[in-house]
């Protein structure tokens, strides 16, 4: 268990107790029921997604990731990551294990920041499944225009901030 996980556990217990203190036992029970329902939804997906990411990463030659998205790829790598990120399908259970395998294969932090940002903002899968049917094509156009440049911005910002985060690539350092 890492320090971050312990911290998260303590925070979760603290907020849970706060909810009980504020709303009594019924609030605590509601919190537990919500948590249980979330677990029932997330756990099966994760049990499938993590092996899936492992299989996919077995198929992607690591040198490819390192060459296109490595720390030396600079702003070119950020641009590539911004373009590719929007096409990563699925939720965080897909993208984050994938990013982890990219990092293990030698990808750079700013490039991964751009990749995650592009996936989050432009993810085509979410746009088609949810945004388009619920809010309509005009809204999708407005939002995609507003968000198009942001992954590159985030990657550039990460490039600038990187010297302050020497441990930003956890797996490589371990």
């Amino acid at each position: 268990m890492t320090g971050g996980q312990v911290l998260l556990g303590v925070a979760a217990l603290g907020v849970f107790l706060l909810a009980i203190g504020r709303g009594g036992v019924p609030a605590g029970r509601r919190a537990l029921r919500d948590t249980g329902e979330s677990i029932a939804r997330v756990l099966p997906v994760m049990l499938v997604a993590i092996p899936m990411a492992a299989f996919l990463s077995q198929l992607i030659p690591p040198q490819l990731a390192a060459a296109w998205l490595g720390p030396e790829s600079g702003m070119t790598g950020v641009l590539v990551a911004s373009a590719v990120g929007g096409f990563i399908p699925g939720g965080p259970f897909v993208s984050f294990p994938l990013v982890l395998t990219f990092i293990k294969a030698g990808a750079g932090a700013p490039q991964m920041v751009a990749l995650i940002t592009a996936w989050a903002i432009l993810g085509i899968h979410r746009v088609l499944t949810w945004e388009l049917p619920v809010l309509g094509p005009r809204f999708v156009a407005i939002r995609l225009i507003s968000g198009a440049a942001l992954p590159v911005l985030a990657g550039a910002a990460a490039q600038v901030l990187l010297p302050w985060f020497p441990h930003a690539l956890p797996v490589v350092g371990r």
């Binding site: 329902e37 756990l43 997906v45 993590i50 932090a109 499944t129 985030a154």
Partner: protein, 215 residues
Amino acid sequence: MDVLFQKTCHPAGCFSAAANWTAGRRGAKRAPMPGFLRRHATLLILSAVALIAATLVWAAQGPAAVNAALDKAWPLLLMVLPAMLAGLLLAGSLKQLIPPGALAQWMGAESGWRGLLVAALAGMATPGGPMATFPIVLVLARAGADRGAVVCYIVSWALNGLQRILVWEVPLLGADFALLRLLCGLPLGVLAGMIARRVPIAWTPPESPLAAPRR
């Protein structure tokens, strides 16, 4: 989907309806088949992709490579699991403390950058996947939030959602990377909202495509 907006209601009531819909399974029994498919689409698609990828690995690199991949997946799962449980408990408890209905009035067209700031915070605080968020977004838009606030809310939720960071990003990629990425992502929601207010495309919130009562 149709259970979501059964009654045309007070914004705050709509909020709790949206929240209940995602949390509770009461509507599931009445949901038509496409609803069932959509609810489980993620799992089905992921399973299919996993099977195909495993088959490809088997064909290209032999059964030993399949085992090697599974050997890598198992410790990762054990590493993520405790953090995920804690993150979900945190999200479930936070939900009891923050009533989401209180936010719509702060995000109107006249709200300026302060409205965008509120939208960014609300987006970050919204837990759950798209099935929870987009119904809430529609409620926000129809309750008077302008397009800038709505875009800002979606981007902030998708990019900086605290639940996602706590459940997935910190356990998998480490706290340092997650913090670096969050710092780079924080201003982007407000930025997207400011741009959205200037995009010359007319848009009004759809008159609830979800609301059409089936009964």
